[in-house]
């Protein structure tokens, strides 16, 4: 099976975009809002105006960084990897269809659900819990994931202080610094404040995680038409510039962190300025980002499989499917199974179950067509001959389970379907309820490690109370 076949840009066009990115870094520059970062960059030959915190990066240095840093390795089960659920603020309740702020018990349920969804490779808590102090919600999310996720996970890191908590948890889980370095259990989605600002908290957390060789996904979030030019090529060049600036900073630090270049770019609805999650232009810019990242030899951590639809309707399925399949066909390493609805306005467990089903179809397609004597089956074709029936052959029984089977999608006949009609969201909800009723979260770490994680959380809560 051959992937990476969907090219929307020629080599010359990719090089023009990247040339613009290099020029942005060298001629326009960025603001690095943290003095130690300015020291690091100045020592490596960047042009630094300390008062304005303005940095211009020589092209040669950025090229060296691109060549010298370690790209994040493709996931083991590529191209069959499907990414983590969204981590938004609100949960959409199935019964009422209303949004409400996420809670800690939602996070537990979502981690439990993802543990049981076979086509989602990377876990998260889905929502930010808001029944805990919001400033340190990331510590509570990490606690749950470290203790109960059966899969690798991704989560937010809010500040350098909570970042240190997450590092402490990771050290406890892995058993020591060397093991932590090798395990890559943490990762950081570094999001510059676009356009062209590298905020202090991001630089601090990158620097901390880089000390432990943890993966950094440079994921700027240029919004075409508001924080980036209203033309796609220019916004992609800006996005790549911001991502490459982060890469160059890590290089100047001497970091061994593996890096991905991608990011959840967005387009604006030019009518209103609203962020869009599923416009056709969004697929185009993400395809361009994949092409640019791959051209530089890096994995692209782009998002896809999102929707602007506010309910699980035809629009929702088309938006998710179109962007997901396009990015998958272009060789993107992360295809979103996100659970979000309505342009990121709420997380739906039912949607995540349906997306898991979509992921199952894509996984099956990823396996491709195997061509060998057994699968060409000339001997069986000879045996059955003209007008025969392959159902009577052992060969058919042996391969019957090669075919993907849906669990939530319907294959009923028309009359049967309408006899006991239930919308796909209801069918998905039954699966959610079944999983949550029958599956308990179980500790994935030793009890003493769990106690240490609890201690770290409590210490952070106490510090917040005493502040």
């Amino acid at each position: 099976m051959i992937f990476n076949q969907l090219d929307i840009l020629s080599e010359n066009e990719i090089e023009r975009i990247l040339d613009t990115s290099y020029r942005i870094l060298e001629e326009v520059g960025l603001r690095f809002e943290w003095a130690p970062a300015l020291d690091t960059l100045e020592a490596r030959g960047c042009m630094v105006d300390r008062q304005a915190m303005h940095v211009r990066m020589p092209r040669k240095l950025v090229e060296e960084a691109v060549a010298g840093m370690t790209p994040l390795a493709r996931p083991q089960d590529y191209p069959k990897i499907f990414w983590a659920p969204w981590i938004g603020m609100n949960l959409i309740e199935f019964e009422t269809k209303t949004r409400r702020p996420g809670r800690l018990d939602d996070c537990r349920n979502i981690v439990n659900l993802v543990n049981n969804l076979e086509n989602i490779s990377v876990s998260s808590t889905g929502v930010v819990p808001q029944d805990v102090p919001i400033e340190i919600a990331d510590v509570f999310m990490a606690e749950l994931l470290f203790k109960y996720s059966e899969k690798i996970f991704t989560t937010w890191t809010y500040t350098i202080e909570t970042g240190r908590d997450l590092v402490e948890m990771a050290l406890a889980v892995t058993g020591g610094e060397e093991e932590f370095r090798n395990s890559k259990v943490l990762n950081y989605l570094a999001e510059p404040v676009t356009p062209l600002k590298m905020p202090r908290h991001m630089l601090e957390i990158m620097t901390l995680y880089a000390q432990y060789d943890q993966p950094i996904n440079m994921g700027s979030m240029v919004q075409v038409g508001t924080t980036g030019p209203a033309t796609l090529a220019g916004s992609v060049a800006l996005q790549m510039a911001e991502n490459m600036a982060g890469l160059a900073y890590l290089y100047c630090l001497g970091s061994k962190s593996p890096v991905a270049l991608g990011g959840p770019m967005q387009t604006s609805d030019m009518r209103t300025g609203r962020c869009l999650y599923a416009a056709p232009e969004l697929s185009l810019i993400h395809l361009a980002l994949v092409a640019c990242a791959h051209h530089l030899g890096y994995m692209s951590g782009c998002t896809s499989g999102l929707c602007d639809a506010n309910t699980m309707d035809f629009q929702c399925g088309w938006e998710r499917g179109l962007s997901g399949v396009l990015l998958w066909a272009a060789g993107s390493e992360s295809i979103g199974m996100r659970g979000e609805i309505g342009g990121g306005e709420g997380f739906s467990m039912e949607s995540l179950v349906v997306e898991n089903e979509m992921g199952g179809m894509l996984r099956r397609i990823s396996e491709g067509i195997i061509v060998n004597d057994e699968t060409l089956a000339l001997d069986i074709i000879e045996k059955v001959g003209i007008g025969g029936n392959y159902l009577y052959e052992t060969h058919s029984a042996q391969h019957a389970h090669d075919f993907w089977q849906p669990e939530v999608f319907s294959r009923k006949q028309y009359a049967q379907f309408w006899e006991n009609y239930r919308h796909i969201e209801e069918r998905a909800h039954e699966k959610v309820a079944r999983i949550l009723d029958t599956s308990e979260l179980s500790l994935q770490v030793d009890e003493d490690v769990a106690r240490e994680i609890d201690r770290i959380v409590k210490a952070r809560v106490d510090k917040l109370k005493s502040a």
Binding site: E33, M89, N90, R99, R100, P101, V128, Q130, I134, E135, A137, W156, Y158, T159, V193, K197, P199, H201, Q223, G225, T226, T227, A230, S268, D269, M270, R271, T272, G273, R274, C275, G344
Partner: protein, 211 residues
């Protein structure tokens, strides 16, 4: 004679240079500044607002029209102040402390200005204390706070508490917005309203000020 129709059209056509030129001509001819505002500039921006609601104008066009409006308005602002002109409402808006994201805030500012409000931009990374100082100085009718980072939401709560502590809370309406904020949070911290996007923010201010 002042060409009010041409001045109105300069706003609709998003042409700040022409708007300034025509306003200066009208002033030179002795036209009262309030007449310029009421007969040309506000009718012009009203048309822009209607075109925006009809999806004929998109956001960048509204922002360019607001620029033309503002450029003309600034020509006559000193005389308007002398004449005791009161805008539709005065809004102070900023991104809260610890947060440098300003695109959403800037879109809200543009639409509020396009709707005839006097808007004071406090910028980004605005502390609770700074909001209080600015409320004292500017005396806005509405204070708007924006945040994108979850960690900075608490500053909105702190700002409302500081306004109360300073005895200013009852003098202003407080509204909040930003991708990490939701109506429940707004209610919890005692804000007067939450705007889901820029258009909603303008409607919210209209509603709160009953204009």
């Amino acid at each position: 004679m002042a060409d009010f129709e041409a001045l109105k059209n300069s706003v609709i056509d998003m042409d700040p240079d022409r708007a300034v030129e025509l306003t200066q001509s009208a002033v030179a001819e002795g036209v009262a500044p309030l007449d310029i505002v009421n007969t040309a500039l506000i009718p012009g921006i009203d048309v822009v607002g209607q075109k925006f609601r009809d999806f004929e104008y998109f956001l960048p066009e509204v922002i360019m029209a607001a620029k033309a409006f503002k450029a003309a308005f600034e020509v006559i602002l000193p005389q308007l102040n002398e004449a005791g002109y009161e805008p539709k409402g005065r809004v102070l808006i900023g991104t809260v402390s610890g947060d440098n994201h300003d695109i959403g805030k800037n879109i809200v500012i543009a639409l509020l200005q396009g709707s005839g409000y006097e808007v004071h931009d406090a910028g980004v990374d605005v502390s609770a204390q700074r909001f209080v100082e600015l409320v004292r100085d500017i005396k806005p009718h509405v204070v708007g706070m924006s945040a994108l980072l979850t960690t900075t939401m608490a500053v909105m709560r702190d700002t409302i508490a500081e306004l109360s502590g300073a005895g200013l809370r009852d003098s202003v309406k407080v509204i909040v917005g930003g991708s990490c904020v939701n109506p429940e949070f707004a209610q919890k911290i005692g804000a007067d309203g939450y705007g889901e996007d820029a258009s909603e923010a303008v409607k919210l201010v209209d509603r709160l000020l009953a204009v």
